[in-house]
């Protein structure tokens, strides 16, 4: 809602101008084929290539990895990534395909990686040449992440990995995976270690990627099976048995609270081809007849649309207020709400859109009469990915109650 450029530092102001100029000439044209709702549902090589090309060109122009050190392929700037993201949002660019690399792997590597690894991996990550995925969840370890069983058996300088990861978005395109492994069966949290492992180069040689299908009918996430995959100890991040601490950095970024620890490496957060936001909802309500008049004139729908607008604006303003320490009651209180609220507000907005659409909410992708091409039912179902993945809403509320309100642990 609010313009946020009046308080730019001189460096930020200059950089913002650079972004605007470059984006003016280089924002790519819409592709001839349909893009999926987000990077997590990329299904075809054609989609991937288009999006990788975009990431590469934005990287080359300095709009990715802005705040990362130059020696790791970054821009060496300070507090400029937010500027780049704002300008890309304004220019309505596509999203970046390497969402897990940029959003989670890069900040974890930056914080915990050895010098050599960072120099080797970060430039190709930032440019999008290497796609990354995340191997945390397992069939038996969802909310209870610390119970992962995928085991790394010591073998001299290497580790032999066996196990089963699941819900692994982008694994079918990924060069690398960040992975949480059990290196000690006698301790729960203390028995975990954190590695980066090559995926695409090991396919068929200890790594098998099997696609899963989402309730939307889309693919995009996978099961990944490890069978005697050898991994060098040099690919470990953090100390042996320190995997949980390293994972915490990843999780904070996954849950939109990463800036409490390390800078984000680039790319807009949660970019989607059809956002379940009130701007789109109002657009739908203007185009839809409800009870014989435009839905936007129905008093009940107006009230509920305003409820969503207020919640959405409140969340935006939370992110702004989080930068003003004098107006905070607790240092992490707002950031730890981000992921929970973003996913739940979008879910409610999409649910409301289906009510606005009424009978037409039954129409899906590919139906010529479907409002917004059937994107709303797709968006609604997709929001469950967000209230479940990266810590369910239930887990998020535990974290808030325990870390911010100091209530007794629920488990």
């Amino acid at each position: 809602m609010s313009e946020s450029d009046s308080k730019d530092t001189p460096e930020q102001a200059e950089f913002r101008q650079h972004c605007r100029d470059w984006l003016c000439d280089n924002t790519p044209a819409e592709p001839s084929f349909r893009l999926p709702i987000s990077a997590l549902e990329i299904m075809t090589e054609e989609q991937l290539k288009y999006l990788k090309d975009w990431q590469k060109s934005a990287y080359d122009a300095g709009l990715v990895g802005c705040d990362y050190p130059v020696e790791y392929g970054g821009g060496g700037r300070t507090n400029c990534q937010r500027i780049a993201n704002e300008e890309m949002h304004r220019a309505k660019t596509p999203y970046m395909p390497n969402i897990i690399g940029l959003g989670m792997a890069a900040p974890t590597l930056l914080h915990h990686g050895q010098e050599e690894l960072k120099k080797h991996l970060l430039p190709r990550l930032l440019s999008g040449e290497d796609i990354w995925c995340q191997g945390f969840s397992e069939p038996g370890s969802g909310s209870d992440l610390a119970s992962v069983q995928t085991f790394a058996q010591r073998d001299g300088d290497a580790w032999i990995i066996n196990g089963h990861k699941v819900w692994t978005s982008l694994a079918h395109f990924a060069a690398w995976m960040i992975i949480l492994l059990r290196t000690d069966k006698t301790e729960k949290h203390g028995g975990l270690s954190y590695f980066v492992v090559p995926i695409s180069s090991a396919l068929g040689q200890g790594v098998t990627v099997k696609p899963l299908i989402k309730m939307t009918g889309e693919t995009g996430f996978n099961e990944v099976l490890f069978e005697d995959l050898p991994v060098n100890d040099g690919l470990r991040l953090g100390g042996l048995g320190q995997g949980w601490q390293v994972a915490t950095t990843t999780l904070l970024h996954e849950r939109d609270a990463g800036e409490l620890v390390t800078p984000r490496s680039g790319g807009m957060k949660n970019a989607a081809s059809h956002n379940a936001d009130t701007a789109n909802l109002i657009d739908l309500a203007r185009k839809t007849q409800y009870n014989g008049k435009p839905a936007v004139q129905d008093p009940l729908l107006r009230d509920r649309i305003m409820q969503q607008l207020i919640r959405e604006t409140g969340l935006q303003e939370n992110q702004r207020r989080a930068r003003v320490p004098a107006l905070l009651e607790h240092p992490a209180r707002l950031q730890l709400q981000n992921k929970l609220l973003r996913s739940e507000i979008a879910q409610e907005t999409a649910a409301l859109a289906l009510e606005v659409a009424g009978a037409s909410a039954s129409l899906y992708l590919g139906d010529e009469n479907a409002p917004a091409g059937g994107q709303w039912p797709l968006a609604y179902m997709s929001t469950y990915g967000n209230t479940i993945a990266a810590g369910t809403s239930e887990v998020q509320r535990n974290i808030l109650g325990e870390r911010v309100l100091s209530l007794a642990k629920s488990k």
Binding site: S143, M215, A357, E394
Partner: protein
Amino acid sequence: MAQPDDYGFSEEAALLKYSARKFFKSNFPTDKLQKMVADNPDSARVQISNWDKALWQQLLELGWTLLAVPESADGLGLPAVAVAGLVEEVGRAAFPCPLLATLNTTYVLAACGESANGALREIAEGTTATLALTNRAGSWQPEDTEVVASEGKLNGTAYFVQDAGKVDKFLVCARKGTGHSLYWVATDAPGITVHADAIVDLTRDQAHVDFADVEADQVCEDGLKALGQAFPAICTMLAADVIGAAEWQLQTTAEYARTRTQFDRPIGFFQAVKHPLVDVMIQIDEAKSLVYNAACAIDHEPKRAAEYAHMAKASASETAAFASSRSVQFHGGIGYTWECYVQLYFKRQKHSQMLWGDAAWHRGRLADIVLGKVS
């Protein structure tokens, strides 16, 4: 006329209901449904949902479609509460079939008077049918129909026609002069084109139907009156379907919560799962009690049938939304997959939620009755 305290839900009705439940349990377990309708997740797939016509034939032979046909037209004339009991079981099985569409048509025809007796007799003999009366905007007021009758021929398009791909006949509401009349026509009559919609719900089909100079039999002159009279039954039966499906969602999710372990506990231990599941149960029970109250009013207290049917469908729409939402959320990652059966019910329920009016729409009509219209 007052309602009987027990809804007039007889032993015969109970027998019908529980034999239906048993029938589906034996002949149509959910894995069969999944295999049948979810074989192809590609949204560009052919859009007529698959269904088991052989099984449907058995149900036809059991007489399910003639339960609601009045005895005067060779039907069984069962009370609405008994029919609702059966429909609840169809919803619980999410069984793809044209029962609801045919029942809706039956209730409308039965409200038409003698002129519709021929059509009712066809239903008594096994003909299936659906209503065609909704406009492009999805208005639930049949006077908004875009089909026009003149010189005995129908022209225009009807939208959101339920299970159009499974039925033999359409009962069409068409504007005629200054009024609206009802027409009875075979789905493959000359001039009719059925366009299957690409819908989310895998357990039903839906179409928009073009009429181009279609010759059809008028079965009712004052169509709006008949539709108005049948509307409580239409809403109540759909609500009965919803509560059956919601009970499946509740029991399936509770079973998962009893067996899935995290943090060394079955997840049902956690009140963040337990209490919302209880709230789902409460919502189902409210809707279910209101469904049988509305059905009983259709049988015994027709003056209040509209009022109670609005309550039942409003409550059922809320139930559909809430039970669906929690069923996916509490199944976690697996609940978000195509292979997990909860997606089938989720999609059916979201369809039912809006069909024939969502909760707010029904509350608006209810308020007009209870509080008086706002001028």
